[in-house]
Symmetry: C2
Subunit: 382 residues, 2 copies
């Protein structure tokens, strides 16, 4: 086990009927908030009505800022920062999925910064030193952003999708009501499950320490649970047992516990997937099932230790050492793509993605992912 610091102060309020707490949770931070959301879904499923009623009952004024897109955009983020500053809000309430919360984090940091917000993302050397308090109501589980200090946004001008983390970006409170997931469609449900599984596997595969039984069992246990229940969520969308289990699983998948103590580690699958999303607007989870389907075979070829690790994962998750096949079968069963052609990427596109990955790899701390290496990995995704 290696040295680490773990500090996750986010308060989680979990369960059916908990959305009405957003008002009273917000009051200690501010009486006026920027209310950030996405498209129309929260107006259809009742979450908009529940959250706004709760805020109003608690006497919290809101300035609405909707229109956050999947793979949230820098330009829209800058608009949000401008409104937050102009309206002098004291906190941010984000109501939505990972994209909404990630953009809300960017606005929270940007609204109190002197510099342009993108400088926090592009490794210019600028560090986040403060942020508006953020509270969230989660309506789609996948990214784990509701219980961490990370945010990822896309610069549509430079075609870069980059992330940053800061202790100032942990939400103060996140409300996780599994009934909000009932209206998540089957494809988004699948992508969320793949995203959460990939989060867990990044440190599992790349850790520098080779004796991490606690972290291994933690990862294997949550991956096993997600693979067991994902299809149920698609076939019975209103099965709250499955939805609530997944909701907590996805949060635990990326709240910092899995990699704590494993030494240095990296996120190559996210690096690769982000380039697919940045260039093809591929849904995040879809890009990851394609990436994992090619990255795992490449990883297995690198060493006997890697093969053993894959075997261990397969045994613990599927009771089967044919780990890669089992993951591909699982992706197929939930209809998440496993090949570049599934998202319309031809060989020219493959080369383009590889170049984009290689450009970003140094910013992600893994410069060894050169264009050549990435082409070789991506060819396994065909």
């Amino acid at each position: 086990m290696q040295n680490f610091i773990y500090h996750n102060p986010t308060k989680i309020i979990f369960g059916t009927g908990t959305i009405g707490n957003i008002g009273s949770e917000t009051v200690p931070f501010s009486q006026k908030v920027l209310y950030v959301y996405g498209k129309s879904s929260i107006k259809k499923n009742g979450v908009y009505d529940q959250t706004t009623a709760s805020l109003e009952k608690a006497g919290v004024k809101r300035v609405e800022f909707g229109g956050v897109s999947a793979n949230p955009l820098l330009s829209h983020t800058r608009q949000g920062i401008e409104i937050a500053c102009r309206e002098n809000v004291g906190a941010i309430v984000a109501v939505g999925g990972g994209s909404v919360i990630d953009e809300a984090k960017a606005i929270a940091a940007g609204a109190v910064a002197q510099n342009d917000v993108w400088e926090f993302y592009n490794r210019s050397g600028m560090t986040i030193t403060n942020a508006l308090p953020l509270l969230t109501v989660l309506t789609m589980s996948a990214t784990g952003t509701e219980m961490n200090g990370n945010t990822v946004i896309t610069n549509e001008e430079t075609k870069q999708k980059l992330g940053v983390g800061s202790p100032f970006l942990y939400p103060k409170t996140s409300i996780l009501d599994p009934t909000t997931l009932v209206s998540v469609p089957p494809d988004q449900t699948a992508y969320g499950a793949v995203d959460a599984v990939t989060h867990l596997l990044e440190s599992y595969f790349t850790a520098s320490d080779d004796f991490t039984p606690i972290q291994d069992r933690y990862v294997e246990g949550i991956v096993r649970t997600i693979t067991e229940i994902a299809e149920t969520m698609q076939k019975k969308p209103d099965d709250l047992t499955a939805r609530s289990t997944f909701m907590w699983a996805a949060t635990l998948a990326w709240n910092g516990l899995a990699p704590s103590g494993v030494g240095s580690w990296s996120t190559p699958n996210h690096l690769i997937g982000h380039s697919m999303s940045a260039l093809y607007n591929t849904p995040h989870g879809a890009s990851l099932s394609i990436t994992l389907s090619g990255w795992m075979p490449w990883y297995a070829e690198q060493s006997e230790e890697n093969k053993k690790r894959l075997n261990q994962l397969g045994l613990e998750v599927f009771n089967d050492t044919a780990t890669i096949d089992r993951f591909r079968q699982w992706f197929h069963s939930i209809k998440s793509p496993t090949k570049l052609e599934d998202i319309g990427v031809d060989d020219a596109g493959l080369t383009r993605i590889a170049a984009n990955i290689a450009e970003n790899a140094p910013l992600w701390g893994i410069p060894e992912y050169s264009a050549g290496l990435c082409e070789s990995i991506l060819k396994r995704c065909r």
Copy 2:
């Protein structure tokens, strides 16, 4: 999955060479602290020197308050409160194991309260509404108190060992340096391992929800790890790989994650063990291996569901459904007692313990543990 709130704001600084951070971590809270510790062990193993040097370097004055005993006493706690008030300290630094930290929490709450501190423990209706900030340097892993809001102390007059929890009692920072565990003797090492395992099993066995795969895998994974490494810690006391793995395992065992979402649950094994400790001054972990050895057979007899749950636990932890036998074998292998006679309790003592348990059971929320039932369970511990 059932509704829950999870909010654990303790900052964990984990690893070798981290003790020197205590000074800089303390500064934001106060320049004058009550420095709480136990007997002489921290002066022998160098932790006293390291912590005091770090505090001095950071300009933090300390008022020393030593002499905390295993199963910390109310009378000693009251002395600490008096000194904290008289010296007007702004924070508490606890350096030691679970007993030292638990008493430090009691002092932290008592020092800012108008009432006597025992009223927080004896279910008088008094609630903790504030406490001095607490920072800890852990030197013996077992109770998990370094990352939760719980404290247990013993009233030597009433022979009651009672606990209380409060959001105000979470340490601000806990420093976990596994090198401090190297000097923990084999018996205390065993008792710590048993305590951590028992923490995990309480909610596992008593949860009201019957579909909790995430929590099940979490518990099984950590129990498996502890049972795999405990003997190594005894045979190779300076094996830092084993010590560090156990140190984090014990913290995760009782930081609130295992029972989050499992519905209502209780701690019958701790209830029973606490009465043994209160009457016989039995080390906490020793009382728990005796209790579990008798409680699990009783539990198995109550229903087919219970038998299935024990089978599942055995399969995941030992790859064997002879769960109770395997736990007893494990207790033997690490020399933790499994029978009342091992701690000198005869049949009259058994009756006395049962009466004490029944007296406390309503305060623990499990009034069904009557004297008769407890005698019947304790007879299985013979």
